[in-house]
Symmetry: C2
Subunit: 283 residues, 2 copies
């Protein structure tokens, strides 16, 4: 198994066939789009036009998970879940592992090669969530961002604290600061307040995530005050929240405050992407 | 109060005197090196040669806190603690707020202006810790890194996952991965294992921090498996660990494993920088 770069294979290298990709060690599976396991993470993925829901913006790819397709028609005929190859991409996300991205000519985006396959360098799995695909079934989605893009983005949004294995950045906007002060830095899920020397620490978590494709608003009613643990769980399918503020997936109820309205619409959106109820084709 | 950039004052702007700095709104205090409060964070700091322990590497500054000096001799005559202006810099650290940095000619580093004062742009407080100064007393230390430097560093160490208010990066090295697997992703302090959809999440924390001035080693016996909450507390003076693995600052005992030796020397170092016992001039 090989995670990360393959020695001697530079980004931009092209290959005539899946067999050549295989022999070069870039993608050691002749059929599957994802190679990897839940233990090691995903090694490479191939974008080859198989899934109608893939979105390719070059340095950013919204990738559809594996499974649930009719092999003859290519149509989605069942729900996808985060198991097998999809779970490998989850592991890559949770452990911050790089994933090689290969584009095939059949992928037919402006970023694809004219013929054959092209190795396009390392990407990170930034997040994963549930969605409803064009064929009406639940699909697994992943946002992959190229490492080059991440470097650039770092340059734009410089609020960065760096540690070697974990990097945590908090730039308090006026709104996130307000949410933390309303709750006096106590987690709205567990009540924990981290007492550091000289101050308290809490994190501001967006209910409907900011940025494409979620496009959540940066408003007070879309922000929660959470401890780092519950922030990780909230962002990665560990739990979600019902309209009556009951927690789903873990025990308990969200602590509310009169000064802090919570958008029910955004809670519903979070439930849908966490795959725990909310808006789905079955409603 | 003004945090961040001052409209119309570009980095590199020089000022003849503290009075001019004051009138421009860059540093609205004529004497103190730090302006700010525990609530709002530090606005600006002035490097003016007052503290013998300051270290200036240009884009990175190891800054000494306020207090404990004899105003006549400038020598340290008492311990410093994280209160008042020092606490303002802690708030800047915990909330990720930018701090303006001004260098004075008297600071006498290669980065100082020949005369007067120079505004050198925005910095982040990356970490804070206790240390023993040249005069033998305990001092408060802060690492400030320029936002430009952080952008560059982001480009070098690209393993970055980005969220808008919090950015958490985990790049599993072989060692951090091993530590997590030994403990099966359970926090060595509280036993918590974060169950995300499709996988577990834990963080690898260095006991003696990597990088100057701590220069801790990247070895198995210098890494702990912690939940994000205890990682934040461990890195920010919330608790430390005794040689017998009893926790100091919070209740409990570190969970040990035969497969995971812990360096007592590095624990002692962590106690010293957390200001809770360990190596100090009084030993």
């Amino acid at each position: 198994m090989a995670i990360g770069e393959i020695v001697g294979v530079a980004p931009g290298t092209t290959f005539a066939s899946r067999r050549e990709l295989y022999d070069a060690g870039v993608h050691r599976q002749l059929q599957a789009g994802i190679v990897g396991s839940a233990t090691t993470g995903a090694e490479p993925i191939v974008l080859s036009g198989g899934y109608v829901d893939d979105e390719d913006y070059g340095s950013e790819v919204i990738y559809t998970g594996h499974g649930g397709r009719n092999p003859l028609t290519g149509r989605q005929i069942a729900d996808q879940t985060f198991i097998r190859q999809n779970q490998a991409l989850v592991t890559s996300c949770l452990q911050g592992l790089p994933v090689r991205v290969v584009r095939g000519a059949e992928h037919r985006s402006s970023h694809s090669p004219a013929t054959g396959y092209q190795y396009d360098g390392l990407y990170r799995v930034e997040s994963y969530w549930h969605s409803v695909g064009r064929d009406g079934f639940s699909i697994c989605r992943f946002r992959l961002v190229s490492e080059n893009e991440l470097a650039t983005r770092g340059a734009e949004s410089t609020p960065v604290r760096v540690a070697t294995t974990v990097l945590r950045v908090v730039r308090d906007t006026a709104l996130s600061k307000r949410v933390k002060h309303i709750h006096e830095f106590c987690c709205q899920v567990c009540g924990t307040r981290l007492e550091c020397e000289g101050g308290w620490y809490a994190e501001a978590a967006h209910i409907r995530p900011l940025g494409s494709p979620h496009n959540g608003p940066d408003t007070l009613d879309n922000i929660l005050c959470l401890c780092p643990n519950h922030h990780v769980l909230f962002d990665n399918g560990g739990f979600t929240i019902d309209d009556d503020l009951t927690l789903v997936g873990i025990e308990g109820r969200l602590v509310a405050s009169h000064d802090h309205p919570i958008s029910r619409e955004n809670l519903s959106y979070h439930r849908s992407i966490s795959g725990m109820g909310g808006s789905s084709r079955r409603e």
